[in-house]
Structure formats: C-alpha cells, structure tokens
Assembly symmetry: C2
Homo-oligomer: 192 residues x 2
C-alpha cells in the first residue's frame, strides 16, 4: 500500500483510540491498530513514531495554533487578552474534534505515564505562550505569569468540559474561569 | 552500623547533591554516595527508596506544610489569601535550606527525567491545595483555579529566586508575583 491511503492518519487515530479505550492502552499493539484500521504497520510508522504519539501528536499543532493566536492578537490587546485569544483558538480545535477529545482524555486519565506526558505537554505550552508574549514586548515576569495563569485556566476549564461530556461549551467555561481568576486574584493578599 | 548514625539522612543528602552536581545525576551510584557520606548502603536504603528519592523525598513534606497552612489560615481569609499562606510556609522551608535548594535545582534542571518528576510533584501540590481549600468550604471551581494560580506564582517566583542566587528573598518575589497576577488578571478579557 502506498502514500495515497485516503485519510490514513485519521483512520489510525480512530482505531487506536477505540482499542485503547476498550482493551487498555498498554495492552494494545500497533499490529492491532493497523488491523482495525485496515492499514499496514509501515503506514502507521509513516504517521506516528509509536503508539503513544497517536495521543500526543496533536499537542505540537495545538501549541502552534496558540502561539499564532498570541502573535496575531491586536497590538492593543493586554497580555491576558492575548493569552485568552490563544485559549479561544485552542477551544475551537477541541470543539471541532468533539468526542475524539473525550475518548483521548479517558485513555490518558486511566494511565499514570500518559498523565505525566500530558503535564509535560502543558508545561511546554506554557513556555511557548510566555515566549510568544515576550515577542510582543511583554516583560519576562508578566509573560511567565500570564502564560502560567492561562494554562491554569485551560486545565480547569477543560477538565470541567470533559467531565460534563462537552457541556457547556468550552469557550463559555474558559470565560467563566477567567472571571473567577480575576475575582479571586483581586481578593488575594496585598503585597506588604 | 546501626540506627543511631547522627544525622545520617542529612549527610546522605549532602553527599548525593555534591556528587550529582559534580559528576552528573545519572553517573552517580548509591555506593559512591554512601562512600562520601561514610555510611553503608543499608543505611541509605533505610532513608531513601532510590537515588532519585534523595531529590524528591522533601516534596511530600512540603505538600504537608502547605496543606497545614491552608487549613490553619484564619476563617476570614479569602481562598487566595489561604493559598498565599501556604506559599509563605513553603518559602520558609526553602529559605531555611538555603544553598541546598539551589544545588538540588541545578541537578534537576540538567536532567529531563528529573524535570518531569518535578512537574508531577507540582501537579500533586496543586491538587492537595485545591482539596485543602475545598475543606474550607470553597467551591470546587474556585478551589481548583486558586490552587493552580498559586502554583503558577510559586513556579515563577521560585525560578527567579534560584536564577538570582537567592536574591531577593523568596517571600518578596512571591508578593511581587501575586501583585502581577492580580494586575494582569484584572486587565484580562471580560466574559461576554
């Protein structure tokens, strides 16, 4: 089979997520994934380095989308507004992928090693957001804190969205979480 | 040698950190650590499960201290004030341990696996803080966001403290970071 397999990547992802959810991530082999997808292992390895990458290949793309959104925010946008634009763009991707996101998260939640990998990807996203904010002329301290706070909002909102079975909309949850962050930060201790 | 070795734990930690810094974490063996400390491997394994635990055994203790501080904050304290009390308690521990903290961080920064372990410990701290806030009657969303924001503040302030060679004081950096968080959150996008 050649490179012209229609939507091979999507079929492999779909098959992998089904198998990971049904049999467990650890128990699933690449041979089983390609069997369900009706594709060869050679095709699998053209798209993914290993079976873990099926779950995390999208993280790099998500990071790019977020960084692009920060860079593209209006010049008048505050650091937190630029970071919110990044999360808004990320939310669009999650909403679009729909149930695949929930299925993927269920697999990750069930496996300690995958949960750790997810934390690493979020830390990488935070670093990328901070760098993108610095590129807008934001000072390093403000950029670092804004990026970390935005990723905190994303983590909490995303968890609620997943636990609620994609209800309410992720964008609405993000807005609610930003509002809570604002309120609670304002109620924090004032520097001496 | 018996259980009465004076300060065996501290001597093992000191020896391990010296060796990790000098020769690299991966290249150092438990035998070398006990050799430098003048103690037996049996004593080592009475205190630490493995050589990685020398670096992370303190994380559980730190988490306890933070949780205790949240629980002990005045009833009138807001969630962010209670979380700030936790970071203040943590800062006391870091300041007290002085250069050992910097040496430990240098070892962790130099090793990807250790950096990942550190992220996991911070995620665990965030979960523990959120649970402690819930125990104070704070709703789950506010608790989760406040805990994540506080850990974000800790990460950024701690990094500046380490990079500055423990100058200025960590408590001052924490206060500055809380102030930036408050300002930047207030300048964020308002929910539609």
């Amino acid at each position: 089979m050649g490179r012209w397999e229609p939507n091979a990547r999507g079929r492999l992802e779909q098959a992998a997520l089904e198998l990971y959810a049904e049999r467990g991530y650890e128990q699933t082999t690449v041979a089983e994934i390609t069997g369900v997808a009706g594709l060869t292992e050679r095709t699998f390895f053209r798209h993914f380095a290993d079976k873990r990458e099926v779950l995390f290949a999208g993280s790099g793309r998500l990071e790019e989308i977020c960084v692009h959104a920060v860079a593209g925010a209006p010049g008048s946008a505050t650091p937190m507004e630029a970071a919110a634009a990044a999360l808004d763009a990320a939310a669009g991707v999650f909403e679009e992928r729909g149930d695949l996101v929930l299925r993927r998260q269920g697999v990750i939640d069930a496996n300690a090693e995958l949960r750790e990998r997810e934390l690493i990807k979020l830390a990488s996203l935070s670093d990328a957001l901070a760098a993108a904010l610095c590129d807008r002329g934001v000072d390093e301290l403000t950029a670092g804190l804004t990026a970390e706070a935005a990723v905190a909002v994303l983590k909490v909102a995303f968890r609620r969205w997943v636990d609620g079975g994609r209800e309410p909309r992720l964008r609405q949850l993000l807005a609610e979480c930003f509002a809570v962050l604002r309120t609670e930060s304002a109620r924090g201790a004032v520097a001496p």
